[in-house]
């Protein structure tokens, strides 16, 4: 199949931000996740947990609460005191409303989905009406004496429970007055702590209020009488989050020790109608604080400081063995943070607030499979480019020749020209960006670096001509009338004639760059596109979807290729379809037109279209080199998928030249090493 020199890169010092909130939407089966840097991500649980959308973070915006309202509208509130609504089509922030109550600690949508309640630092609870295009302040509830850290509506919408410091209040929504104040015991294992923070509350339809607090307790209260009914001490540290299933027969809590506990309403004895809450299952999938939990009909979802999003299916609720039956741990973004200049062997790393440019080293030695070659030149850190302002970088790109770097934040687009003189580089910013190039979701340079393609968040695709140190706006493909869907993925053919663009909801458009018109639209597919690329010479567009299907579509012929049809007819190997990370990058071998190179976070694969496809009986992944078997056997067992699982977690892999690959890994241990230390637990002794 081939021998490659692999530049194995581990110096991409990327640390994802911790997860602060998750919000599950049952209607669309989507999960919104907010991180401590203000980033909000939307996962489509029906599409193999693919991270469909993301909203870049902002330094001043610490999201403390996230919720879905009626009509699948997403709201967040944070310590900057603002409520924000996200535009899930255009992928930008629709508006932000200051609630004038100081930092917001909690937010809850009414059961009808039409009202929004926020709890503020100053102890106020404010009710907002959700109007079709905005939100409107309605009134304040009785002001409490300390910050409101958690809120929960009674399913009938008549009452609200609010967790504060040392007590829980029950409000009557109609009058806005507090009808009960339930004092939480400060005692923690017999020692009186300074304060007991009620991190989470949940109001059940039978009037029970469940609270979780900093003393490690899960408590059940009767909201009608304001009395404590039952108390479970489950942790030596804070219990930080709670989420109840829609049927109210189970709930989940997360603790600062990284444990997630599942509570279920089970009959006291079999066949008895009397039920009680029982702590049934503990899960330890996290090393750090579980800041937030969610309960989908089939799974427990948790996230926290250790940056993993964990989706733990409830096996009793899963009927078929499919994607939903497996434990998911999502750590890395499902988009590329790395781009590569093949000609100069440069890597551009994208961080939240800066870019790093590295030059790969070199070797003159050769070796056999598995050897580590002595370096004649080590990798160099060439450039550290810091952004101005508090906004996170959305996307970045380096041109193939290495002389252009472009990146974008929510409000600004930056283009730099790089000059290389021996070992020195000089950087020059191209000034006077036109106003339409303000916020780019995706940037791409043509292979000859003469054109720049920019997908803006308004749905338009801009083509910019680059020459020398200047640029010229050539054309803008406007979105089809009536849609504002943002394009997230771009691919350009190596001859520069074709541009493919894909949006968030599974439609790929191919434009003719020469004639500046829409060439065709690839037939729609149910699952979102995770990566795509156009093969040189043949101009076949290879598209990977989140359900692990790969299609090959001939742009000149405007139809799927024969190979793609064969693949669809025969189907992919079941192990291929069971992989749980999406393909994030596709590339091609310049000399071998039959090869497609693609990778996800845990494997790198070369598909050789000339070989037969594997069926479910053949071994898909065989890490061992063939021993002294006869050539005939080898040929018979050989199949199209050549897989390597040496490099993982793999964030980027590309072909630098015919015989050289670059692989960027980010070991989890390196991430953990940069997190704050977890709560220490004793292993031995008294």
């Amino acid at each position: 199949m081939g021998e490659f020199k692999v530049h194995r890169v581990r110096f991409f010092n990327y640390v994802p931000s911790g997860i602060r909130c998750v919000a599950y939407n049952n209607q669309s089966n989507r999960l919104a996740v907010s991180r401590t840097d203000g980033t909000v991500e939307v996962y489509n649980l029906s599409a193999n947990y693919f991270q469909e959308k993301f909203f870049p973070g902002h330094e001043s915006r610490a999201t403390e609460a996230l919720c879905w309202a009626e009509g699948q509208r997403l709201f967040s509130a944070g310590l900057n005191g603002e409520i924000m609504e996200y535009d899930l089509q255009a992928l930008n922030i629709k508006y932000a409303v200051d609630v004038f109550g100081g930092p917001i600690w909690s937010m809850a949508v009414s059961p009808s989905g039409s009202q929004l309640l926020v709890g503020c630092e100053d102890g106020s609870v404010k009710l907002f009406q959700i109007t079709p295009d905005k939100i409107q302040f309605e009134r304040n509830f009785d002001r409490q004496k300390s910050r409101i850290l958690s809120l929960s509506w009674h399913p009938s919408g008549t009452h609200v429970a609010a967790g504060s410091i040392d007590y829980i209040s029950v409000f009557d929504v109609k009058s806005g007055s507090a009808i009960h104040k339930m004092i939480v015991d400060r005692q923690h294992m017999g020692v009186s702590k300074r304060k007991c923070i009620v991190w989470g509350v949940a109001f059940l339809s039978d009037g029970t209020v469940i609270s979780v607090d900093s003393a490690g307790k899960v408590q059940f209260w009767d909201s009608a009488t304001g009395t404590l009914v039952k108390s479970h001490l489950i942790a030596n540290a804070d219990v930080q989050s709670i989420a109840v299933a829609e049927q109210e027969d189970s709930f989940v809590v997360g603790t600062a020790e990284g444990t997630v506990f599942h509570f279920q309403l089970v009959p006291v004895t079999s066949n008895s109608s009397e039920k009680q809450w029982v702590r049934t299952k503990p899960f330890q999938h996290h090393t750090h604080d579980v800041r937030t939990v969610a309960h989908s009909p089939t799974a427990l979802i948790s996230g926290g400081t250790d940056t993993h999003l964990v989706i733990r299916p409830l096996m009793e609720k899963v009927e078929v063995k499919n994607y939903d039956a497996a434990l998911r741990k999502i750590t890395f973004p499902h988009r590329r943070l790395i781009s590569c200049s093949k000609k100069r062997q440069l890597l551009l790393f994208q961080f939240a607030h800066h870019l790093e440019l590295w030059r790969l080293g070199s070797t003159v030695a050769t070796g056999k499979n598995g050897d580590t070659l002595p370096l004649s030149k080590n990798a160099d850190h060439l450039l550290h480019l810091k952004t101005k302002g508090p906004e996170n970088i959305i996307c970045s790109c380096i041109s193939l020749c290495g002389s252009w770097i472009a990146y974008s934040t929510v409000s600004r687009f930056f283009l730099y020209r790089l000059n290389y003189e021996h070992d020195n580089i000089s950087l020059k910013r191209v000034s006077k960006m036109p106003p339409f190039l303000r916020c780019a979701l995706q940037i791409l340079f043509s292979e000859d670096s003469t054109k720049l393609f920019v997908a803006s968040n308004q749905g338009a695709l801009h083509i910019v001509q680059l020459s020398g140190g200047s640029f010229k706006h050539l054309h803008a493909f406007q979105p089809q009338s009536g849609t504002v869907e943002a394009m997230c993925l771009l691919a350009v053919s190596s001859d520069g004639n074709w541009l493919a663009a894909s949006g968030t909801s599974a439609g790929v458009h191919v434009y003719n760059v020469k004639q500046l018109k829409l060439h065709c639209t690839v037939p729609a597919y149910n699952f979102p596109v995770t990566a795509m690329a156009i093969a040189p010479n043949t101009n076949n567009l290879v598209i990977a979807h989140s359900d692990q299907q790969v299609f090959e579509y001939s742009i000149p012929d405007k139809q799927y290729t024969d190979w793609s049809r064969t693949v669809q007819k025969q189907g992919f190997h079941h192990l291929w379809l069971q992989r749980d990370t999406p393909i994030t990058h596709i590339s091609f071998h310049p000399k071998r037109p039959m090869h497609i190179l693609l990778h996800d976070a845990y494997m790198f694969c070369i598909i050789d279209k000339s070989l037969p496809l594997p069926n479910d009986k053949t071994l898909l992944y065989n890490p061992f080199p063939p021993t002294n078997e006869s050539d005939v056997v080898r040929r018979r067992t050989a199949h199209a998928f050549k897989i390597s699982k040496i490099y993982k977690p793999l964030l980027f892999m590309d072909l630098l030249d015919e015989r050289t690959l670059v692989a960027v890994e980010r070991p989890l241990d390196d991430i953990i090493a940069q997190l704050p230390p977890p709560i220490k637990k004793k292993k031995f002794g008294t």
Partner: protein, 672 residues
């Protein structure tokens, strides 16, 4: 305690008015009803603040109680025995109320039930020491009067009543001044309502509370099988709340109420409410499904044997009473039923009958032959029962004739694996008297339910019995490994090496202890490596180590053991510990040796119970120092483990670093 709970509402009558009937809630209208000054009815709800301004109705007769249950309108019971529905009464408050009960008859207690969706009211009256029960059916408006006969104990005064209802009967339970609980079954559907009928009560539980309690006696039925009783169990003791299982006649649980109670007890929604001192105490209590195992688990030993009303051996497959315990004039429905079956079954079991008759008369030798014959037979369905009866028969005879002690028989019977301590508590008692250590060892090995007090009594005998009398016995040596062999081999070994266990005693800060120990190094080595007890005693002690116990119950009994015996046992345990630490797996050789955990637990228990005594004994000083070192070494082991863990983590980190080959490398990859 409900000190941290706050009342949801509070109302009071004007000064001078007296509330004469407890307030109740009308569940249909969510209103509260109270009576003050006997005749004035007040009705209000949550929103009302001032009781003076709420609805008021003055009635023509004095009210005894207002009764309210969920699902029906409240009833008003007048002192003269008449009953009215609340609605009917409010329609015409001044209506004439008839007199039902005779002069000088006073209502003592009342309860309101729903039976088959029909309300039923029962009230008890008293006149010159005679008690009458009235049952008012509301669907048929029939009032039936019964006279309660107190039976042989005519002078007793009934202190408290409770009642529960099943399909056909109201079971009226009464707590008499003699401290016993009696049950009276009142049919819900009267056979002949016109005639004045009499009811007989039967003894349910004997001596539940002390007869001469001044105040604070109350009982309430929790479910079919459980009742809660408030009062002092013995004359001098503090008042206490106890829950009894009446099916198995056992005390389920009990709780002392040192601040005294007022004789009021309610059970509502799985919570028991009572006044304790000046506060209202709420104790959540849920009746588990009544099972024999559950009942036996909490059985308190040393209790009045009179409470064992039930026959002891019940073969649940083929019920057969054994003719023990109460069989006199009991009228209990339950017992009657069982006796009927018993009568019908008796002729079918001749072999056991024969055996039982043998036991009563024949010689030990003959009995042994008979027992062996019976055991050789195939196990019959009533095997358990017969074994139980046989043992009881033998033990009865043992008690009667001090010279009669069929040891071999008893051993054989124990080895059938069907006996347990609770089936024949006398067995171990007699063995203890006879100092039959072999039988005791067997019991300890076979019985799963030996109370801690008996375990402790066995321990006392095992420690005190002379070596020479031990020689004659034939105890099972299975748990003892012959340590004498190994003693010779390992005599050369330094004791410190045995103790090491991951830490070095050179670091030991207890220098003066060491010095003292070093004074007599030879002596010490000898002591630590040779068994302080003879192997037979060791076998007996091992049986104790293997037995199950609960710390709280064992500790008080351990205090009764003489100090020199405690020291001996501690020495033996210390010896076992040293033997344990000799090998890497921390186990003792042998077939069924005591485990390290059992040894450590017993060391802790003995020291907990007797530390003040042992510490005063000069001869125990070195032992204590050794034990101190032992504990210290354990702590050090744990701290060393923690240190090793850290070192391992560092090693792991290094290992990882070796694996990840730095931040950048160029490698060769060949895809096949």
């Amino acid at each position: 305690m409900v000190s941290d709970q706050k009342p949801l509402g509070s109302w009071s009558v004007k000064q001078g008015q007296i509330i004469t009937c407890p307030a109740v809630c009308n569940f249909q209208t969510r209103e509260y009803i109270v009576v003050h000054d006997n005749k004035v009815l007040r009705i209000w709800n949550n929103e009302d603040v001032n009781l003076d301004k709420v609805f008021k109705a003055t009635l023509s007769a004095e009210v005894y109680r207002i009764l309210s249950v969920q699902g029906t309108e409240p009833l008003v019971l007048f002192k003269e025995g008449a009953v009215r529905g609340l609605e009917a009464l409010l329609a015409d408050p001044q209506q004439k109320i008839e007199t039902v009960i005779s002069d000088e008859e006073v209502i003592k207690w009342t309860k309101f039930f729903i039976v088959f969706r029909h309300p039923v009211l029962i009230f008890i009256t008293e006149k010159h020491g005679n008690y009458f029960a009235y049952v008012q059916m509301f669907n048929s408006r029939i009032l039936t009067k019964y006279t309660l006969l107190l039976g042989q104990d005519e002078n007793s005064v009934i202190e408290s009543f409770t009642a529960s209802v099943d399909r056909k009967f109201i079971s009226l339970m009464s707590l008499s001044s003699d401290g016993c609980i009696y049950e009276t079954l009142i049919p819900i559907r009267p056979t002949d309502p016109e005639k004045n009928q009499t009811l007989v009560r039967s003894l349910l539980l004997k001596a539940v509370v002390s007869g001469n309690t001044r105040n604070g006696v109350a009982l309430t039925a929790l479910d079919q099988d459980h009742i809660a009783v408030l009062g002092s169990p013995q004359a001098a003791s503090k008042e206490c709340l106890s829950v009894w299982n009446i099916k198995f006649q056992t005390l389920q649980t009990s709780k002392e109420l040192p601040q005294g109670t007022s004789g009021q007890l309610w059970y509502y929604g799985e919570n028991l409410f009572m006044l304790h001192g000046k506060s209202l105490t709420v104790i959540p209590y849920k009746c588990e499904v009544s099972s024999l195992a559950g009942a036996l688990g909490k059985l308190k030993h040393g209790q009045d044997p009179g409470t064992h009303v039930m026959p002891r051996f019940v073969n649940w497959e083929t019920p057969q009473g054994c003719g023990l315990g109460f069989q006199n004039s009991e009228q209990s429905r339950r017992i009657l039923r069982r006796r009927k079956i018993e009568v019908s079954l008796q002729p079918e079991v001749p072999p056991s009958k024969q055996l039982l008759s043998t036991i009563m008369e024949d010689s030990e030798k003959h009995i042994e032959v008979e027992v062996r014959k019976f055991l050789a037979l195939k196990q019959t369905p009533d095997f358990h029962t017969v074994i139980g009866d046989t043992v009881t028969g033998l033990l009865e005879r043992c008690k009667a004739e001090p010279s009669f002690y069929p040891r071999n028989c008893l051993m054989q019977l124990i080895q059938t694996h069907v006996l347990s301590y609770s089936l024949c508590p006398d067995l171990m008692e007699i063995a203890l008297i006879k100092k039959d250590v072999q039988l005791l060892q067997l019991c300890l090995q076979q019985f799963p339910d030996i109370p801690e007090s008996v375990t402790c009594a066995c321990l006392k005998i095992f420690l005190s019995i002379g070596d020479d009398s031990l020689q004659e016995t034939d105890v099972s040596m299975e748990s003892v490994f012959d340590y004498s062999n190994s003693v010779h081999d390992e005599k050369m070994e330094e004791q410190t090496e045995i103790l090491q266990n991951g830490f070095s005693p050179e670091e030991d800060k207890c220098s003066n202890c060491d010095q003292e120990l070093n004074k007599k190094p030879q002596d010490e080595t000898k002591e630590s490596t040779s068994c302080p007890v003879v192997p037979k005693r060791a076998a007996l002690l091992n049986a104790i180590l293997h037995s199950a116990y609960s710390e709280t119950f064992l500790l008080p009994h351990l205090k009764d053991i003489p100090a020199q015996h405690i020291t001996l046992f501690l020495k033996y345990l210390y010896f076992l510990y040293l033997k344990c630490s000799e090998n890497a797996t921390m186990t003792l050789p042998g077939i069924h040796p005591p485990t390290l955990n059992q040894i450590m637990d017993w060391i802790c228990l003995l020291l907990d119970a007797n530390f003040t005594v042992v510490v005063m004994m000069p001869e125990a000083k070195r032992l204590l120092i050794n034990l101190y070192k032992l504990v210290k070494s354990q702590i050090s082991v744990y701290s060393e483990l923690n240190k090793i863990e850290v070192s391992f983590r560092e090693l792991q980190k290094l290992n990882q670093e070796k694996n990840n080959r730095g931040l950048y490398s160029i490698e060769v990859l060949e895809l096949f």
